[in-house]
């Protein structure tokens, strides 16, 4: 599997290997990567892993969109059989959620950056960190098995009782989710302990970069919510194996209980996906505006607030399931409380640009695209949080469009922005900025073309998870498919720009963007132990001392 072998190519691209000591050249050989305890190498391996998973999920997404080019009213003339279509959307959802979005930012970028931004040598438990990675690999193998086995067709939500009677490899998939859950828990645990106990002298809580606040809040959710998913998946596997009946209506069990158990994890999981993305945007907006973040404390507190409120709103996935009226109303009210901290963050990001010095380079373009798309995603959440409109919109394409605006327009765009932002630090190579901006633009247009029509489809009553549709929806579906293809092209361009930089990119300076956080104090790529001497910790958003040095092409901190 490419996940394991790809990291080997990383050091090979370094012509000057042997001349300087960095984490890539520190040691060589397959085992030096496979058994590494270095958080940076583990982060890079995660990066390759999650991007492979994203590619797989993306291909599945394109299959969905291509199938929906025609209404498919004659099921036997359609490109995919109904059954196959169901398997494709199930795996698209499961791969994207469990293998890509959840580990993407925390495990890949977070692992690489957290200790460096904090000013420590490593995370608190490096062995556990490597263990998390191999748990991820093991979970991914279970998922690949269910991809090539008879086909998982339950939807990524595994709702009972359908998942109990489905012939697909539900047990393999649930065990895969169970294992991935532990990978996620251990990563979160590691991060919390690192931030709590290993901050160097001078790194107070309010001198932490906002990315760390976001990762910290994320870790709290990972640790508190994921075990509940673990037990739910275990009970579902037991349901299939032993017929325990807890979620099976035929044995007097309660399918609604499954939904509660499932969403108790999976709603907070939405914040596992979006909070670190918000952290990245906070960094990107301030560094590329060359100005401190506006309302630091509000952003920090709102991360924690989102993490905590996120636990109280899972019921909004079940408004139409027949919960008691009071429960439904309380969940709706709580849902609206989560919207406020997110809104505050958006305003603060805009405020950050005010009177700054805005460099419109690739990471910044991604960050601006994020704000545009995430705002749409957030605002459309209002329609779904309000009870009477949700009665109409629940389980339609409106929901699909809403969460893709948040998950993909939010998390994926932030992930790409962050990847471009820290790419010089991670690989020591500068990428082609024009290519990067081009990729961002294609992705932005393609994305809106894909998902804006889906809002209309949903409002007009197109239910989700349908392999066929009424002919009058065809135009909107075709627009969406064209958008998806465009999106695919944009992502390919982004990939090419990054790959190109590995081979032909110029050497990255220490601080190419003018960041004030600690990761820009160490060389690019960082040395094995991150800092040769203990870094001096200052205000992470004090840009008044950052100056550009045209000779080295790098920013530096005035003494």
């Amino acid at each position: 599997m490419s996940v394991v072998t790809n990291p080997v190519t990383m050091p090979a691209t370094h012509p000057e290997a042997g001349k300087e000591d960095n984490y890539l050249t520190h040691s060589s050989g397959f085992l030096s990567w496979a058994l590494t305890l270095d958080h940076k190498r583990i982060g890079m391996m995660y990066l390759v892993g999650v991007m492979s998973a994203f590619a797989l999920g993306g291909v599945l997404a394109l299959m969905i969109r291509l199938h929906l080019w025609t209404p498919n009213l004659e099921a036997n003339q359609a490109w995919l059989l109904n059954k196959t279509y169901n398997q494709v959307f199930t795996l698209h959802g499961a791969v994207m959620v469990f293998l890509f979005i959840i580990p993407s930012i925390p495990a890949a970028l977070g692992n690489f950056l957290l200790p460096i931004m904090l000013g420590t040598k490593d995370v608190a438990f490096p062995r556990l960190n490597l263990g998390s990675f191999y748990l991820w690999i093991a979970g991914a193998i279970f998922f690949l098995f269910s991809l090539f086995a008879t086909g998982l067709d339950t939807g990524w939500t595994f709702y009972t009782p359908y998942s109990i009677e489905s012939q697909g490899p539900v047990i393999a998939a649930t065990l895969g989710v169970f294992i991935l859950g532990f990978s996620s828990i251990f990563t979160g645990l590691n991060f919390i302990v690192t931030i709590n106990t290993m901050r160097p002298p001078g790194m107070t809580w309010f001198r932490m970069p906002l990315f760390l606040w976001a990762v910290y809040s994320t870790s709290i959710i990972q640790v508190l919510a994921t075990p509940v998913l673990g037990i739910t998946m275990l009970l579902l596997a037991a349901e299939k194996l032993l017929g325990i009946g807890i979620f099976d209506s035929r044995l007097n069990g309660d399918p609604i209980a499954f939904q509660h158990f499932f969403w108790f994890y999976s709603h907070p999981a939405v914040y596992i996906m979006i909070l670190p993305a918000m952290g990245i945007i906070s960094e990107l907006m301030s560094v590329h505006s060359h100005k401190g973040i506006f309302g630091y404390r509000m952003i920090a507190y709102s991360s924690v607030a989102i993490a905590l409120f996120g636990f109280l709103v899972w019921g909004h996935h079940m408004f139409t399931s027949g919960m008691a009226d009071v429960t439904t109303i309380v969940f709706s009210a709580l849902t609206f409380t989560v919207s406020i901290p997110s809104a505050i963050k958006v305003f603060n990001w805009i405020g950050t640009m005010y009177q700054g010095t805005v460099s419109l380079n690739t990471p910044m373009v991604y960050a601006l695209a994020f704000i545009f798309l995430f705002t749409i995603g957030g605002l459309t959440g209002l329609f779904l949080g309000a009870l009477s409109t949700d009665m109409h919109l629940h389980a339609t394409y409106f929901v699909i469009a809403h969460f893709h605006y948040v998950m993909m327009g939010g998390t994926l765009i932030a992930f790409l922005g962050g990847l471009f932002h820290w790419w010089p630090k991670m690989t020591g190579k500068m990428f082609n900025d024009f290519g990067g901006i081009l990729s961002a633009s294609i992705i932005f247009v393609g994305f809106n073309l894909t998902f804006l029509p889906q809002f209309v489809l949903g409002t007009r009553g197109m239910p989700r998870r349908y392999a066929s549709y009424k002919p009058e929806f065809q135009l909107l579906h075709q627009l969406s498919t064209i958008g998806a293809l465009m999106l695919g092209v944009g992502l390919l361009v982004a990939l090419l720009v990054l790959l190109h930089s590995l081979f032909y990119g110029s050497k990255a300076p220490k601080n190419p963007w003018g960041g004030a956080t600690l990761e820009w104090e160490c060389s690019s790529p960082p040395p094995h132990d991150n800092f040769s001497s203990a870094p001096t910790v200052g205000d992470p958003y004090d840009f008044s001392k950052i100056e550009f040095d045209p000779k080295t092409g790098s920013y530096f901190k005035k003494k």
Binding site: P11, A12, H14, A17, G18, K19, E20, D21, T25, H26, S27, S28, G29, T120, K121, D122, A124, F125, P126, L128, I185, L189, N190, I192, V193, T194, N196, T197, M198, V223, L224, A225, T226, P227, V228, G230, I231, T232, L234, L235, A238, E239, L242, G243, I244, G245, I246, D248, R250, L251, N252, G253, D254, A257, F261, H528, D529
Partner: protein, 358 residues
């Protein structure tokens, strides 16, 4: 890529530079930071464990709230004596574990290994008793969910030797540990002897637990069969237990319901005419079966945690036998101790919630 690496500080040089002792990981500044990190990590892990179990406690609360009579009916199948013994055994093991932590701080290695061995032994006794409980229920057909067999008076017990199946892994381990002990004895390795001793004792404890469980289970089923048999001819065989049997009859009236329809001493009693209407009968897959699903899930997951605990305690014994622990480095013992107390603590909730309903 070439293997030529520029002169750079290797880990060893680096450690020497900071005067890091071997037990202190290179990325920690000092012993205190390492201990704090380990401790916080373990506490967070315990939080995840509590949440992991909380899912099942929620399921328990949901179904008990919905069908309280099912839980009352079913808990009479659980032998509270065995549960109580196991509670005692686990509480005692918590004591020995705490003692082990103290011994590791004081560098009393002999006591440390002894206490860890005792904890391991208690865990094995617990599992032995559990094996008797499980196999007894399987023999009666008290399986989870859709495999639940409605309990009918006089139905033959299953002849499948479930208890043997459960004992086989323990037997294999016992043989392996005895062989290891013999090897250690022959090679006269003090280290191996220190490790093998506790393991042999612990593996034997499992069978002690099985014996204990069988004795108590046998007592209980004597009482049961007599009470429920009523005018059954078998009653004569137990006439010498008359006093005990009477007490049993009063304490567990619902046992009488297993088919003796005329004994209507309990609100869920069913007359023969009503047995066809499913709602009035708890003795079926969707009712009692669901209770046993919850019972097996909760106690089973708990038992897996005991097994996990035993594995890490064995690891601690190996480390102790190498004299690794001292007043500045005893974090692993302390953290495993925390974990062990949590496992104990969960059982303290499981016991009343499952066994002591009526």
């Amino acid at each position: 890529m070439t293997t030529a690496v520029a002169p750079s500080p290797t880990d060893h040089e680096h450690d020497a530079h900071h005067e890091h002792p071997a037990w202190l990981a290179h990325h920690f500044d000092d012993a205190e930071q390492q201990f704090d990190a380990g401790k916080l990590g373990m506490w967070i892990f315990l939080v995840t464990e509590v949440l992991f179990f909380s899912g099942m406690f929620c399921a328990y609360a949901l179904y008990r709230n919905r069908n309280p009579e099912v839980f009352e009916f079913c808990s009479t199948f659980l032998n509270e004596k065995l549960g109580a013994i196991n509670t005692g055994v686990l509480l005692f093991s918590s004591l020995t574990m705490a003692w082990a932590v103290r011994a590791s701080q004081l560098k009393q290695t002999k006591t440390l290994i002894g206490m860890l061995g005792a904890t391991l032994g208690c865990a094995a006794i617990f599992l032995g008793v559990k094996a008797v409980e499980y196999s007894h229920k399987w023999g009666l057909g008290l399986f989870p969910g859709k495999y639940y067999v409605s309990q009918v008076e006089g139905a033959p017990h299953s002849t499948v030797p479930y208890l043997w199946y459960l004992c086989i892994p323990a037997l294999i381990l016992l043989v392996a540990f005895v062989l290891y002990y013999v090897y250690a004895f022959v090679s006269a390795s003090k280290f191996h002897l220190r490790v093998a001793g506790p393991l042999v004792v612990a593996a034997s404890c499992f069978f002690g637990g099985v014996k204990l469980g069988q004795v108590l289970e046998a007592e209980e089923s004597h009482g049961d069969s007599h009470a429920s048999a009523g005018a059954d001819a078998h009653g004569h065989e137990h006439s010498d237990h008359a006093g005990h049997d009477h007490a049993k009859e009063v304490s567990a009236p619902s046992v009488n319901l297993l088919g003796e329809a005329e004994v209507v001493t309990h609100d869920v009693a069913v007359s023969p005419a009503e047995t066809n209407t499913p709602e009035s009968n708890v003795n079926q897959k969707g009712m009692a079966g669901l209770f046993f699903s919850i019972y097996y899930c909760m106690t089973g997951v708990h038992a897996f945690h005991i097994l996990g605990g035993m594995a890490v305690i064995t690891w601690l014994i190996v480390k102790s036998a190498r004299f690794e622990f001292h007043s500045k480095y005893y974090g692993p013992v302390d953290n495993v101790g925390l974990y062990w107390h949590l496992v104990d603590f969960i059982w303290i909730y499981l016991f009343p919630l499952l066994y002591l309903i009526t």
